[in-house]
Amino acid sequence: MNTVLVILALATLGTAAVAMSLRNLLHSVLLLTATWAGVAAFYLWAGAEFVAFAQLLVYVGAISMAVLFAVLLTRHSRDDVAAPPAARSRGVYAAAAGAAVAGVLLAAVSLAPLATAPARAPAVSVRQLGGELMGAHAASLLAVAVLLTVALVGAVVLAAGGPPEKPGDTP
């Protein structure tokens, strides 16, 4: 059981790391889609079927497409998708910060007295989940709905606002 998890985790982390270091922006986004699919596979492995499919639908089906669209909208020419590398020092500092955070978190995880695992996954059907969402968590559901609406309206205002472009301004 643990071998499956280790393989999944290594594949997911590998795609994420490569995606973050690639020059070509579109390749990065497509590889990150694989990362998100790997996380969905992890949810499936853990027995959270609904979350896995929701993750696939939202990340692979919607977020990745929106990001790809943004990549295509914000470039001058076809070769513009190759993001220029940042300064070397910046990369070194970033790697140091990432390594430090990973070290602290890993040390905490391995030293913490964590409770042992139950043998079986807590059985939760979709119907039960729906009841929980509309019952005990109804207020948070409402808050998330308001947040999504506000975010959507805000995004439209941000992206569509601004003065009309001058004809000669387009690249």
Partner: protein, 401 residues
């Protein structure tokens, strides 16, 4: 009811399952589960592969009939061998990859497309006992797997390094994001009414007949009819079929994302289009047309998978008829149809479905009121929004012509 009990166990009904068990029974018990799964995969591949071959022929024949020409009729009897001739042609053609193309993505796009469109077949109940994967959230799985196919269309268009393909990729993204929304929103009322996300549960919720005559299919309720219409229009767009085939509009973009594909890779795209059409039609049958259920109690002796196949073929014939009849939309009309017409209608339809299930216990004359209110909720917004939608579609004035 007695009739149902006798036909329930008819040999013809159980024949596919019996055949599978007989085949896997030859193996030792530990291998049986794997063998069963493999047999189911092979069966789905074989059935839909053959269906694909003959659907291409049927489409060409139907298009020919509508356009007053014979269609393919030279290869074999009535052109019946045409799909096999096409297959041999596709397989033996040279596979050309443009020099400037992104080689990995160019190769990966058709493979990912066909893989994800095949995944969607696993959760459709083809008959009383014919369902490959039983899951609690299978409706969600269907749309999650289906949404991944859109990514491959983009990959194909971008990796080809061709301006027409790139246009197609942009159009495909815009179109598929726009129509994903009404597609999903038209399914939500069904989930609400059936109270389950599993395809088998949705079919079970549509069993039985009112007065022994009208089946309890969702399409025979006001919200179900509206939802079915929205679902089919969005399905047309999601499977890139005419009149929504803008990504591959041959009159303006050559073949869009398919321009730089040849040989077997092109055949894979072609296959995936038909698979997508079959899967979405199968889902429409499952969600709105009662799945494998017979339309009349007296017709229950016909095996359930035959009913499913019949409904599926009817919907696919509808797809072909639409393709032969309607002209292609412009890209702005396409997105306007989705955002200003289908999405609001689908949202209102959700309200109608909620009203319908809340008023379930109403009886007698209140039932008439229930129908009247639900019909008004469906027709009113349709007429109002439809008038706004067609307001700007008068005769065009060409300023520079």
């Amino acid at each position: 009811m007695r009739l149902l009990a006798t036909t329930d166990s008819s040999l013809l009904e159980r024949a596919p399952v019996l055949l599978r068990d007989a085949l896997s029974g030859l193996l030792p018990p530990p291998a049986r589960w794997t063998a069963n799964a493999l047999i189911e995969i092979v069966a789905i591949l074989a059935v839909f592969g053959t269906l694909f071959a003959f659907l291409t022929l049927a489409e060409r024949k139907i298009l020919g009939r509508v356009q007053n020409r014979p269609g393919p009729n030279r290869t074999g009897w009535f052109g019946l061998l045409q799909p096999f001739a096409d297959g041999i042609k596709m397989l033996t053609k040279e596979d050309i990859v443009p020099h400037a193309a992104d080689p990995v993505l160019h190769y990966l796009a058709p493979v990912a497309l066909i893989a994800f469109s095949l995944l969607t077949f696993s959760v459709i109940p083809y008959g009383r006992d014919l369902l490959a994967v039983r899951m609690d959230a299978s409706v969600l799985f269907f749309f999650a797997a289906g949404s991944a196919t859109e990514l491959s269309v983009f990959m194909a268009g971008w990796s080809s390094h061709n301006k027409y393909s790139l246009f197609a990729a942009m159009r495909a993204l815009a179109q598929l994001i726009s129509y994903e929304l009404p597609l999903l929103l038209s399914v939500v009322p069904v989930v609400l009414a059936a109270g389950t996300l599993s395809t088998a549960g949705v079919v079970a919720a549509q069993s039985g007949w009112k007065w022994g005559l009208v089946p309890h299919w969702h399409v025979f309720t006001p919200w179900g009819a509206a939802g079915f219409a929205i679902f089919m229009v969005s399905a047309l767009a999601e499977s890139n079929r005419s009149p929504f085939d803008l990504p591959e509009a041959e009159s303006e973009l050559i073949a869009g994302h398919l321009t730089e594909y040849s040989g077997f890779k092109y055949a894979l795209f072609f296959m995936a289009e038909y698979f997508g059409m079959c899967a979405l039609s199968g889902m429409a049958v499952t969600l709105f047309l009662g799945g494998w259920q017979a339309p009349l109690p007296a017709l229950e002796f016909v095996p359930s998978y035959a009913w499913f196949a019949l409904k599926l073929l009817a919907l696919i014939a509808g797809f072909m008829w639409v393709r032969a009849t309607l002209p292609r939309l412009r890209i702005d009309q396409l997105t306007r149809l989705a955002w200003k017409f289908l999405v609001p209608l689908a949202l209102i339809n959700l309200g109608t479905a909620a009203f319908w299930s809340l008023t379930y216990p109403w009886g007698g004359s209140l039932q008439l009121l229930r129908w009247a209110v639900a019909l008004a909720l469906v027709m009113g917004p349709f007429l109002l929004l439809g008038r706004r939608l067609s307001a700007g579609l008068g005769a065009r004035t060409y300023r520079y012509a």
